[in-house]
């Protein structure tokens, strides 16, 4: 039996009202996070009632995975200095939480972070949060101009079968609810019309109409080889010189960027040191610095590291580092667009 078959009977049409009231009933036991409208922007925030949710959102600046599972900043150890030094290991957080309305791009980004933090070496802080977090994904029907998930296979509808708990598709006044985990099956054991072939066809029709809304694309075929052939292409140099500010916005908003720094902060009386980890960025000048040199001293090299880590370097995990969410394009203060850089390289090869 494949993973899909196990939960086949758990495809249901649920009235939105009853889904939200079920969520509200869980608020006592779980911390709930979801998309909330703040002025003209949507952000993932902690919510206390489902009324706060804005499920028709397009995109957010920060991805839920890098807010609530891989925390931007986290204290790991305390070193107490009295006679000798005692190490206090801060235990991973065991709070139960639910993230609601995670788009396919961001769900795939969490699966990507899993490769880093739950690969051969497991990060206990990430692992604990990941296990205690229920992910309710929402198929995306609101394409933004910078979205290119359809080109890289990570959206707009979620294809992954594992690694999250539930998948919702907006069917007007109802959700098509696809259960993907045992715990979701238990918590959302609700009455609803069983979804069959007909509903799956409607779902496919919705997906097809969403696919038509994409304006940005990237040709993935041969992308690895394209970049490897063009490590010294002028696009790196002129984009770095004319536009890149090394501000690191791209890295910080990227849902798959996992780099962190370890920082020691000592108290004024020097009796206690906290070891903290926080997000770091390869765009920072000192990121690859060693004694006597810097492997990415030039801004062009740092820009190339970010872009190729997303669109090349598949040797790392066997998948592309991008999920096509387009955040790095949206939040770049000078509008650098990695898909356009790939196009420029491709075009120059054709001209030769």
């Amino acid at each position: 039996m494949t993973g899909e078959d196990i939960f086949r009977k758990f495809k249901k049409l649920i009235p939105k009202e009853s889904f939200f009231s079920r969520l509200d009933s869980l608020a006592k036991k779980y911390r709930l996070f979801g998309p909330v409208n703040i002025k003209n922007q949507t952000a993932f925030r902690e919510i206390h009632t489902s009324k706060e949710l804005f499920m028709e959102y397009k995109s957010t600046m920060l991805s839920p995975g890098k807010l609530f599972i891989f925390r931007p900043k986290e204290e790991l150890f305390r070193f107490h200095k009295n006679e000798g030094i005692k190490i206090e290991e801060l235990p991973p957080v065991s709070e139960q939480q639910i993230i609601i309305g995670v788009h396919p791009c961001d769900t795939n980004a969490i699966l990507y972070l899993d490769r880093t933090f739950m690969g051969i070496y497991k990060d206990p802080y990430y692992e604990a949060r990941r296990k205690n977090t229920m992910i309710i994904s929402l198929n995306c029907t609101n394409v933004s101009p910078n979205c290119f998930c359809s080109s890289v296979g990570s959206g707009p509808f979620l294809k992954a079968e594992k690694g999250y708990d539930m998948l919702l598709t907006d069917f007007g006044d109802r959700y098509l609810m696809e259960i993907k985990s045992k715990r979701a099956e238990e918590l959302f054991n609700m009455k609803g019309k069983k979804a069959g072939k007909e509903e799956m066809e409607i779902k496919r029709d919705i997906e097809n109409s969403v696919l038509e809304a994409f304006t940005k694309t990237i040709a993935v075929e041969g992308l690895d080889e394209l970049f490897l052939r063009n490590m010294d292409h002028p696009v790196w140099q002129h984009t770095a010189e004319e536009r890149c500010l090394s501000c690191s916005n791209c890295v910080l908003v990227c849902p798959t960027c996992f780099c962190y720094d370890l920082i020691d902060e000592s108290s004024m009386d020097m009796k206690m040191t906290r070891r903290i980890r926080q997000l770091d960025a390869c765009q920072d000048m000192r990121f690859a610095e060693v004694y006597g040199g810097n492997f990415r001293q030039r801004r062009a090299a740092r820009l190339r590291q970010f872009v190729t880590h997303k669109l090349n370097q598949t040797v790392q995990y066997g998948v592309y580092g991008t999920v096509g969410c387009g955040r790095c394009i949206t939040w770049c203060p000078t509008g650098i667009d990695l898909t356009e850089m790939a196009i420029e390289i491709r075009r120059s090869e054709k001209d030769m």
Binding site: F77, K81, I87, P124, C259, L262, M270, D280
Partner: protein, 282 residues
């Protein structure tokens, strides 16, 4: 298991090795690991930070060694420590030198500067089981004679295999005339010039030779290219890379070298794997 959690280590012995370089003989309670040649520890102190440091000797009689130059913030702090003081370590991390693959083969060990430190456990391993290996050569170069490390061990080494020593310069030439060779007060003869000059001295059958190279990346580039010209396959050449590291376990991303994590996939790589990668000199 939290791999970021360090353990206390005590400095059993401290030896000034050369200019700004010391060898720290360390021990920890219930020594939590065994290490392989070429692996490294994160060594540091709370409030100061941590730095990746290769083993210069593996665990023996409950002690192991790191040979460290005072260079950055962390190592400058370590430089101020005395015998009996504590520091913090975690590890070992990474892939080491493929010593098993070298058995039965001619082994070329080529070191530049501090690069001799990660190769010292290989040398010690060869000395312990000399019979397992065919011919062994050590080519070792440093800036000047003051920067030569482990000079007091040269004699033991030379009893088992030839040493070829090179210096970029003489720190205190006793005569004004340039010479191609000098002797230090212990009687060691140094060639003045680059490590690559010494490649002509070794006679090898390329198909049956394996080379371990460690030093500044620019030196490794030219040594490896020299060895390729001698006919050694790039898959039989091994280099140890240096990168900035924070975690040692392929999480923090600092050491990423075009998709490779130097801390997990290396620091020892075959030259074939890393030759020509962007943001490197190889």
């Amino acid at each position: 298991m939290n791999r970021l959690k360090p353990v206390k280590a005590r400095i059993q012995a401290l030896k000034k090795q050369a200019h700004e370089v010391k060898t720290y003989t360390l021990t920890t309670e219930n020594l939590p690991f065994s290490a392989l040649p070429g692996q490294f520890n994160m060594v540091g102190f709370p409030g100061v930070g941590e730095a990746p440091i290769s083993f210069s000797a593996l665990v023996r009689e409950n002690c192991f060694e790191h040979t460290i130059r005072s260079a950055g913030r962390v190592t400058a702090y370590l430089d101020g420590l005395k015998e009996g003081d504590e520091l913090f370590i975690r590890g070992p991390y990474g892939k080491g030198w493929p010593l098993r693959q070298a058995e039965g083969k001619t082994v070329l060990l080529i070191a530049g500067g501090l690069g001799i430190a990660p190769l010292r456990p290989v040398i010690q391993g060869i000395l312990e089981k000399r019979g397992l290996f065919d011919k062994v050569y050590l080519i070792y170069g440093a800036k000047n004679e003051k920067h030569m490390l482990f000079t007091d061990e040269f004699q033991t080494w030379e009893e088992e295999f030839p040493l070829f020593l090179a210096l970029d310069e003489i720190s205190n030439p006793d005569s004004g005339s340039p010479r191609m060779k000098v002797r230090d007060k212990r009687g060691w003869e140094y060639h003045i010039g680059l490590v690559t000059d010494m490649l002509d001295k070794v006679k090898i059958y390329p198909q049956r030779t394996i080379a371990f190279v460690c030093g500044p990346e620019i030196m490794m580039r030219f040594v490896c290219r020299g060895l390729l010209l001698m006919g050694i396959e790039s898959s039989s050449l091994y280099v140890s890379l240096e990168r900035r590291m924070k975690c040692g376990i392929a999480h923090c991303g600092h050491c990423q070298h075009y998709g490779l994590f130097v801390c997990k996939d290396g620091p020892v790589f075959s030259y074939k794997q890393v030759r020509g990668l962007p943001d490197g000199l190889l």
